[in-house]
């Protein structure tokens, strides 16, 4: 499942301005510290993969970027995450506007029990992006095309999204996220519940989407991280152990724990 076209080596982080940057970010659930002073730059229009064993904090970190953890009582944080230099955690941050700039795709596909069309149009409707029917039609089509789903659903846009296959549902959720034109796309193990063919489609999609979006993807699957990402960050017990160009992390990790994880000695 390697890409047919040879890729040019991605530039180093400092060569591109980071779209998302964490600075000494720590996070607690009650008394439980889930993240310990994580500093990480996620460069513009690149795919950053977060890997590590279960409970290492990678999902918590991902959900901290669009403040999805806000709903959980008893959380606390220190340090900051910035989006294009704008502090995500500043006191007067408008989380609703923030989440519009940061799209998210979840581990389990979660389409609304509505039609395919309404699912994609939802974000545009709540954000009042457009009120004209034809513009909305256009937006829905464009988003579905971007998510490589258009050809499969063009004839049944108004039938229920729950009738789609698992892989299609997940691509629908990606289209739904894209429809609000986010700056960053967060993906939390987007293919973990899918079969290999559906997984491959999602991976190809990620590869194409980075033309326009900055992508942060959490994955359990190291081959997947190797296939889709430009940079890989290895988390362990709430700490960021190592980050670098994906090839380097996978071929020549500098830290022993990273190597142990990648070669499958734990996790």
């Amino acid at each position: 499942m390697t890409r047919p076209s040879p890729r040019k080596p991605p530039p180093e982080a400092h060569e591109i301005r980071p779209a998302v940057e964490a600075k000494d970010f720590s996070f607690w659930y009650g008394k439980n510290q889930a993240l310990k002073r994580v500093s990480l730059q996620m460069p513009d229009r690149q795919v950053t993969a977060l890997i590590g064993p279960s409970g290492c904090g990678k999902s918590t970190f991902l959900r901290s970027i669009n403040r999805m953890n806000d709903l959980i009582p008893g959380i606390q944080h220190e340090g900051d995450i910035t989006l294009d230099g704008d502090s995500v955690y500043r006191a007067d941050q408008d989380v609703v506007a923030l989440r519009k700039r940061v799209g998210m795709v979840f581990q389990k596909s979660n389409p609304f029990p509505k039609s395919i069309y309404e699912n994609v149009a939802y974000g545009a409707r709540v954000n009042r992006i457009t009120s004209s029917r034809s513009e909305l039609d256009e937006l829905v089509e464009r988003s579905l095309r971007q998510a490589a789903l258009w050809d499969e659903v063009r004839d049944r846009l108004h039938s229920s999204a729950l009738g789609l296959s698992g892989g299609q549902q997940q691509r629908l959720c990606i289209a739904r996220a894209l429809a609000v034109s986010p700056r960053v796309l967060l993906m939390d193990e987007p293919a973990s519940a899918l079969d290999p063919i559906a997984t491959q489609k999602i991976e190809e999609l990620v590869y194409e989407l980075k033309e326009d979006y900055t992508i942060v993807i959490v994955t359990h699957n190291m081959q997947q991280a190797a296939r889709v990402s430009d940079r890989t960050a290895f988390f362990f017990m709430g700490e960021l152990i190592e980050v670098g160009r994906t090839e380097e992390i996978f071929t020549n990790p500098k830290v022993e724990q990273t190597e142990a994880y990648i070669t499958g000695r734990f996790g």
Partner: protein, 281 residues
């Protein structure tokens, strides 16, 4: 910019609506607080030793108590439980064990429909059955009416509690060579005991406060009574009778009786809540 204005409007609207839900919560809680406020202030004033020891005074005369109604409520609930609980628990076990058959589904459906039967209809049914048959109002008729109300309630809670018993426990019994009935009696029911008891207590609390089914069955009685074939008084009946009377002293006593009745109902409910916390004690 208009998009910013729009965005701010959305957020303000969200805050407004969520505030309204808070107000709804407040509006719901206020009557409760008011009811308890009046019960405690008006009820406590009229509550004295006479209330628990004396018979009701004749209409228009001050003083007297509701001792016979207290006994009546106790007897009515006791006999209703005696008649209703064994059948209800049996029916509940039946639903838990055979509830997926066609007949079981039908029985459950009937139980749910009976749970929604207006209590006054139950009272009239028992009048047309027991009272007509005996030719008089009686403690027995009142108890039957309450038992008819209790039956579907306890049946359904028992079913749910028995279903909660882990399958391994049943299989454990079977594996020891128990027959089905011995597994049920020896393993399943003891395991579900506190849950079933909770359901029973909730149902008893509920029927203890019922008035409508007693109007034409137990009927009421100004004197001491404990025989099954005589009409008998009950706290809810007296509250009703006193509340719609023109006498101030009776109004006071109605509040007192309501306080006692609520105390009784809440005490039983609280015990039930406590049991719920430890379902497998």
């Amino acid at each position: 910019m208009t998009t910013i204005a729009l965005h701010r409007r959305r957020i303000l609207f969200s805050r407004l609506m969520l505030t309204l839900t808070g107000i709804a919560a407040f509006v719901v809680v206020v009557p409760l607080l008011l009811i308890f406020y009046y019960l405690v202030t008006a009820g406590a004033q009229a509550l004295n030793l006479d209330f628990f020891t004396q018979l009701p005074a004749p209409a228009g005369e001050a003083g007297g108590g509701m001792a016979n109604a207290l006994l009546g409520t106790f007897l009515l609930v006791f006999y209703a439980g005696l008649m209703g609980i064994p059948i209800a628990v049996g029916a509940g076990v039946y639903l838990a064990e055979a509830g997926n058959t066609k007949l079981g589904t039908f029985v459950r459906f009937i139980a749910d429909v009976m749970n929604g039967t207006p209590s006054i209809v139950t009272g009239i049914f028992v009048w047309a059955w027991v009272v007509l048959m005996m030719g008089r109002f009686s403690l027995l008729a009142g108890s039957v009416a309450l038992a008819v109300m209790l039956l579907p309630m306890v049946t359904r809670t028992t079913e749910e509690m028995v279903r909660l018993v882990p399958r391994e426990l049943k299989e454990g019994g079977m594996a020891l060579g128990f027959t089905r009935w011995r597994t049920t009696l020896g393993v399943v029911l003891p395991a579900a005991r506190s849950g079933i008891l909770t359901g029973i207590l909730v149902a008893l609390a509920r029927i203890a406060g019922e008035t409508a089914p007693l109007l034409f069955t137990a009927f009421g009685n100004p004197f001491w009574e404990w025989r099954l074939n005589e009409p008998i008084s009950a706290l809810p009946l007296l509250i009703y009778q006193y509340a719609i009377s023109p006498y101030d002293d009776w109004h006071r006593q109605a509040w007192a009786a309501a306080l006692v009745l609520i105390g009784l109902v809440l005490a039983i409910s609280l015990v039930a809540r406590f049991l719920i916390r430890n379902p497998y004690r």
